[in-house]
């Protein structure tokens, strides 16, 4: 992997109600040498919005672009902080494998353990719904729904 050309990262953006009406993301392509792929978006006028974005391009441009987003009042959360696995709870059954679209969850053929590779995760949240023991967590609120 040539680090400069093929830098690629998935981030989660949180839009405060005040900025959700303005064009920002398209400028990543216009002002910086970046391309992006929208993996998930929930943007509504005058409401807090969210978007999961895969950003590709030279690393330097990526950081400039990210700063531009932050300057515009958008909160940037790395996806790796969005989805997490409760290692105590996971029983390595493998049911999540069916729904993971990116292969971030995979089976180690030797140990038969379920591997979770954060850098491949797009935080789509499918695993959080299918996991029978609720070991895959989207955000802290999700977990609270399980209590009695």
């Amino acid at each position: 992997m040539t680090e400069n050309k093929n830098f690629n990262k998935i981030v989660h953006l949180s839009f405060p109600p005040t900025v959700s009406g303005r064009p920002v993301i398209c400028n990543l392509g216009k002002l910086y040498n970046l391309s992006f792929n929208i993996l998930k978006a929930d943007i509504n006028p005058r409401h807090e919005g969210s978007m999961t974005l895969e950003i590709m391009g030279p690393e330097e441009e990526f950081h400039k672009g990210l700063n531009y987003i932050k300057e515009n009042g958008i909160k940037v959360i790395p996806v790796t902080q969005k989805i997490s696995r409760d290692e105590e709870s996971c029983m390595h059954c493998g049911m999540c494998l069916a729904m993971c679209p990116t292969g971030a969850l995979s089976l180690d053929m030797d140990t038969r353990k379920v591997l979770f590779e954060l850098d491949k995760c797009t935080a789509c949240g499918m695993c959080t719904k299918v996991c029978p023991v609720n070991a895959m967590e989207n955000d802290p609120q999700e977990k609270e729904n399980r209590t009695t």
Binding site: M91, H92, C93, G94, M95, L97, A98, M99, L107, M109, T111, R112, K113, K129, V130, P132, V133, N134, N145, R146, T148
Partner: protein
């Protein structure tokens, strides 16, 4: 006519060796290679016990419990634990909670697919973990049992009796599920994507108890087992037990067949080996950890316990149309080895496979049982009554 064997051991002899710390115990995975390299007779001479293990969703499980009396006395007619309804149509303070029972206010599949966040299996897991559970009960009141209501926090210690009682566990073989329709469906075999884009399968394969004793020659009423981290017992054939299934040349049934009824005291169980589950769009259930020791009484038992994943065939069935309509056809038979490889080919289509039974936990259970026997903490039992299997 009874068969004659070169190697003849009794359970009593094996127990003597266990007590003296001399028994040779291996798990069912290790036994595959031993039988392959040494042959069944040598293996039978050398090995005394093979331990099996499985940690799989087993819907037909539950807890029989007694809440004790707190004067004025009460004959409970409706009982809830953490708002999960229990069956109370038995003696005054007895009830039964099943693992598939959802909490009373669960929205079920009203918003499809439902989440089924908490049910009977979760209650049992919480009790095993020593957590506090809210008990609520109602009664109509009688002269001998005047109390009409009770509501209090309890833990496992407050229950005079708490017995896991599972009508059907340890299914010997099962279906591998695919979906041939054009929409995702949510089943007890997990979510199945449209057009056969995943094939879900259960059981622990060569580690699974009833694949290692396919004719139930050593497992019967009274067999002592590992149950969710404590000692439990087989109390007979389970519901839906099939005694004469179609088998392959090795005696392995070609579809779901033998089942066991199981009981064990909740006290001493470990929540690691009993987990309440939520199946999206389907319901609540629980994974039960079971390990059964197979005594190697002769070379025939050595041969049976030498079963490998490649010797096990599972039927692939369509859960989109066939299963709900009671059509029993198998689209194909695939080996457990193929299922474990990550993909199978059915009628020319390559389908990624998805396990539902934790192999990691199944192996851990077989090894835990192995260490109990090696330490002399666990003795084998002679079945009081056989379970028919031909």
């Amino acid at each position: 006519m009874a068969k004659t064997f070169e190697v003849n051991k009794t359970i009593k002899e094996i127990n003597e060796r266990i007590k003296n710390g001399k028994a040779v115990v291996v798990n069912a995975e290790e036994m595959v290679e031993i039988v392959r390299s040494k042959g069944k007779v040598e293996a039978a001479k050398e090995i005394d016990v093979v331990t099996t293990g499985t940690f799989s969703p087993m819907c037909s499980s539950g807890l029989l419990f007694n809440i004790g009396q707190e004067p004025p006395t009460m004959k409970t007619s409706e009982v809830w634990l953490n708002n999960v309804p229990c069956y109370a149509g038995i003696a005054a303070a007895d009830s039964y909670i099943g693992v598939t029972e959802p909490a009373e206010d669960d929205p079920l599949n009203k918003v499809y697919p439902g989440r089924f966040a908490y049910g009977g299996g979760h209650v049992i897991e919480d009790l095993i973990a020593g957590k506090t559970v809210r008990l609520k009960a109602k009664a109509y009141g009688t002269d001998c049992y005047p109390r009409k209501e009770i509501e209090k926090d309890i833990t496992l210690k407050d229950l005079p009796n708490a017995i896991m009682l599972n009508p059907r566990n340890c299914y010997q073989n099962y279906n591998c599920a695919v979906n041939m329709t054009s929409r995702t469906i949510y089943t007890y075999m997990g979510p199945l994507k449209a057009n056969q884009r995943n094939a879900n399968y259960a059981t622990a394969g060569q580690l699974s108890p009833l694949f290692n004793d396919p004719y139930l020659k050593t497992i019967g009423l009274g067999t002592r087992i590992f149950l969710a981290g404590a000692k439990g017992y087989v109390i007979g054939a389970g519901t839906q037990h099939v005694k004469n299934p179609a088998r392959n040349e090795r005696g392995i049934p070609l579809g779901g067949s033998g089942t066991l009824m199981i009981k064990g005291n909740l006290e001493g169980m470990d929540p690691r080996y009993f987990r309440g589950l939520s199946f999206q769009g389907y319901g609540c259930t629980a994974s039960v950890g079971i390990g059964i020791p197979i005594p190697i009484l002769n070379e025939e038992m050595a041969w049976f316990t030498g079963v490998s994943d490649a010797d096990i065939q599972m039927p692939v069935k369509d859960y989109g149309y066939d299963y709900p309509n009671g059509i029993g056809r198998a689209l194909a038979h695939v080996t457990f080895e193929e299922l474990k490889s990550g993909e199978i080919t059915v009628n020319g289509k390559v389908i990624p496979t998805v396990p539902m039974t934790s192999h990691v936990m199944s192996l851990e259970i077989a090894d835990k049982l192995k260490s109990w026997i090696q330490k002399g903490d666990f003795l084998l039992t002679e079945p009081v009554e056989e379970i028919e299997s031909t």
